[in-house]
Symmetry: C2
Subunit: 566 residues, 2 copies
């Protein structure tokens, strides 16, 4: 493609609200422009990279038998009302009325539409399993669009849905998709982790998010430095401590802690470490008060607590509720003497040596507390937010934290949608059963931004070969020089004839401008036709390594084919 | 692809509201399903054909230097307000408000968005011409969605926009696109005509519509049976008649036509043919009364009249206005004695031998009217709707009528959008000029329906090779027979290894069901593995011709490769 008439309007300065590196670089390299907040035009360079990503996705999904289709963006409200998400999605769901005043949603995802389609299209277990996908524009009215393509209101996704008659079949497709995703993101050139994620309010079961590690992510990933273990911070566990073989505790004793409102206050007044104190939190689950115990330095992880306690929601008790249940203010409560309230203690408490805790008497703590002797717990649970340096739960290595960009997710939905939309098939016994379902997403536009977050330097983008908009950037350094122009034209034909994509800078610009734009756009190989054109010698630069070499035309052809096949 | 788990739910009966052959066949063949009125899901068979059409479009547009990009579906209302189409589009424009109560349109087309993008992206004539395109979902809230994909509310289009500094450059791209469209529709397998169309309210100049000839079209095409001439009925002309060398007329004479309300009434009372009477129509253009004259059997073509008279709108005068201007009721008016009202006569009047007309006296006509002697016309114009059998305006052949489906359009927009959106470039003299623009559309989803309208028989679809969802339909007639099953599996691998797409009917169904579904889905070649499987002999049927032959496996491979390359 000739750059003189190519729509890639590079720019030196970017708008102040461009807040992520990928966003800035895509604007500067002329890859995208904003049309409205969170709504972008993808210019030809971006479109080319996205098309390559989409081809990789199609190849890997087709290889495992997934079938491509296209579902509409306009969804009748009735389907979303049946699933309950017309209400649940709130302001994030883009809504509109047609000329007959009928309500529609613009699809942010397609569980409702595909379930209603399959309900009418598949009657028997004999047609299962089914795995369908589409690559399509989605809409989500984000409260705060930001980071360019990382959190937009209109974006491109690959979404897939699978339908099954048995858990085994669902499981098989789930892991086939998990593996396909790993192949896709590897080919795209991303450093990523499939992480254990929260199935949350979707009502599903297993779920993994594929996180590209980056400096700009909206999520924190905890991962082992020596194994595959990785989880979103909200779901991460650490290895359970081994309780001491035997513990001796002194005589239970009260000490005044008159103004202790926090664990740290108490620790100071008792002359102990915060980690020696039981942090006692009162939470209300299904109208019932529960006491949660953590080590003093630990923080409650509400997502994990919900899973561990089998609850769907949880709130902290009010000061009044605490007073009524424990007879003391929140800073002075503890498990000693509590018998009619469930007590859940984090596993890390099992490793405590000395223990102090509130005495359920405002301004008073117990010291020399003996677990089992002075209090009983209902059960030990995994309640805390892990910290960097914790031992990995699989016993291999310690946990590290990284920011992550969610680029994909695989999700076992179970019967969440087939039941609410009454989508059933007849099993081998002729009995109607709701479909078991999985859903699987990849953020296509987000993936391109994640690639740039991971592949850039101070001069611009550094494209991985497989998703670069073009393979080669050919620069005619001085288009007014006949020899340079002629050799450039010759190479433009030659390299394309080898099946490589070439962006050919034939603009009447200075060499300096061309070099700068070339670094910014960041194609894998730059070929500059300059002063040695008469000798048919060109200068080749590898964008990633900075390696530079001079090659004759015959050398160039073989060098290129080797570079792009290795 | 194995049909046992392929999502192609064929059906015997279609909904009563499926009103076009393509709509019925796509439903019956399991290619599409309705999600809401005018809103469809494209199932895998349809998606495959559409992908092939899209590939053909990309190849032909890339070959002439067009650049692919992707513009958003969400358009800020401001852009449409600037162009004036926020009002002009009326109920057809899908509108919505975001969570901040800001107005958006869902793009039915992208002139506004691309013009605003280019306004900021291109500053100089040096970057011109530019030709960009996208393939994307569009939205148009049709008052009456019908004919399945032929008139939907959500549909897939290829739209392209070109930007130029000179008329010559616009003209060059216009014709390059025109030729590319002809190549595209030829490859897709359509019988079509590029027809002269009305540029209408878009404010542009030249425009051609590409019409697929069909029995279900919403437009009528008039075309020559001996030349390339073709035009929408609303724009079609016939050859101008040669006026008689000399005419003699008798004495102007009044005759009573007491109850004549129509031309036919008058003809009967005068003992003349309708074509001997001047049909006199009074129209109001820009608040002024005008008299239009046609031969008695001709009908006014309002679209042509607007063009010929340089008007933007026109309405028929009320009876009161006619009375006031001519002193008679509409059935009795004519040009004789009219001096202060412009008179435009259709060219066909020049060939009239005898002439009668209303005498501007209710219930009275003149006979023996002499043009030039008894009345003067302001100008002769092309005002009538052509009729089948008229001589073609290029002098070659006569006009025939056909129904047409508009599958594409090329359009010279001129500065319609660049002026309203203030999009300018600097020309070679450093002077700011509005871009000259062209726009070019192809209805991708409509094209697939048009292909089926042209390619089907009583048993189902008859796909052209290039856009068939699969090349080959392989039927294992009895999957319980080990030899048939084994040979089918072997052929499934073998044919795919030759680079052909295969739909493999491995379902446990009766042979009769498989043959019926195979005819319905209509892939170019059917290979049935049946009773002679043990001898490695299969039965091949060409869907289009019905030709059937028995081939051994080695013969099959070479027959297939010959069939698909010829």
């Amino acid at each position: 493609m000739r750059q003189s008439t190519y729509l890639a309007p590079t720019m030196r300065d970017v708008p102040a609200d461009a807040d992520a590196i990928s966003h800035k670089l895509m604007l500067r390299a002329g890859m995208m422009r904003q049309i409205a907040s969170g709504v972008y035009a993808y210019l030809p360079l971006a479109k080319r990279s996205m098309a390559k990503i989409e081809t990789i996705i199609r190849e890997e999904l087709d290889a495992i038998g997934a079938q491509e289709l296209t579902l509409p963006a306009l969804h009748p409200a009735e389907l979303w009302q049946q699933s309950g998400r017309w209400e649940a999605m709130g302001d994030e769901l883009v809504r509109l009325k047609d000329r007959h005043n009928r309500d529609f949603a613009l699809g942010p995802t397609h569980e409702e539409v595909i379930t209603s389609l399959i309900k009418d299209g598949i009657a028997s277990y004999k047609k299962l399993p089914l795995n369908v996908y589409q690559i399509q524009t989605k809409f989500r009215d984000e409260r705060r669009p930001r980071f360019g393509l990382l959190r937009g209101r209109e974006f491109i996704m690959k979404d897939a849905y699978s339908f099954h008659d048995t858990e085994e079949s669902l499981n098989e497709t789930y892991w086939a998709m998990h593996k396909a995703y790993s192949r896709i993101f590897t080919r795209v050139g991303l450093t990523f982790r499939p992480v254990i994620a929260d199935s949350g309010a979707m009502g599903g079961k297993d779920t993994h998010e594929f996180m590209a590690l980056a400096s700009v992510g909206e999520d924190t990933v905890a991962y082992s430095d020596q194994s595959d273990y990785a989880a979103n911070l909200e779901m991460a566990s650490s290895a359970r401590p081994t309780p001491p073989a035997s513990q001796t505790h002194g005589q239970l004793e009260k000490q005044a802690t008159p103004d202790a409102k926090t664990v740290n206050d108490a620790a100071e007044q008792l002359g102990l470490e915060a980690d020696d104190i039981l942090k006692a939190l009162v939470v209300v689950i299904a109208e019932e008060v529960n006491l949660l115990l953590l080590r003093g330095n630990d923080e409650l992880n509400e997502v994990k607590a919900l899973h561990e306690l089998g609850a769907t929601s949880l709130r902290m008790a009010t000061e009044e509720e605490v007073l009524q249940a424990f007879g003391a203010t929140p800073g002075s409560i503890g498990p000693v003497g509590v018998s009619d309230i469930p007590i859940y203690a984090d596993y890390r408490i099992q490793a405590m040596d000395k223990i102090a805790c509130g005495a359920n008497e405002t301004g008073v703590h117990y010291v020399h507390v003996g677990p089992g002797r002075d209090y009983q717990v209902t059960a030990y649970k995994d309640l805390r937010t892990v910290q960097a340096g914790d031992p990995s739960p699989d016993g291999q290595g310690t946990l590290q934290f990284a920011e992550g960009i969610e680029i994909g997710q695989v999700f076992k939905l179970g019967t969440r949608y087939s039941e609410s939309l009454d989508a059933k098939f007849l099993d081998a016994n002729g009995k109607a059963q709701p479909f078991l379902m999985g859903c699987y997403g990849i953020g296509v536009s987000r993936t391109i931004a994640a690639v740039i977050e991971q592949h850039h330097d101070e001069n611009g983008i550094v494209w991985p070969n497989e998703v670069a908009p073009f393979h080669v950037h050919l620069l005619a350094l001085n288009v007014k020089n006949d020899e340079q122009k002629a050799l450039s034209e010759k190479l433009y034909e030659l390299i394309r004839s080898k099946g490589m994509d070439v962006l050919y800078d034939d603009r009447p610009e200075r060499a300096g401008v061309k070099f700068k734009d070339s670094d910014l756009i960041g194609l894998p190989v730059r070929i500059a036709v300059g002063k040695r054109a008469a000798e048919e010698i060109v200068e080749v630069k590898v964008r990633k390594t900075g390696e530079q070499l001079e090659l004759t035309v015959p050398e160039l052809a073989s060098w290129l084919s080797e570079f792009f096949t290795k």
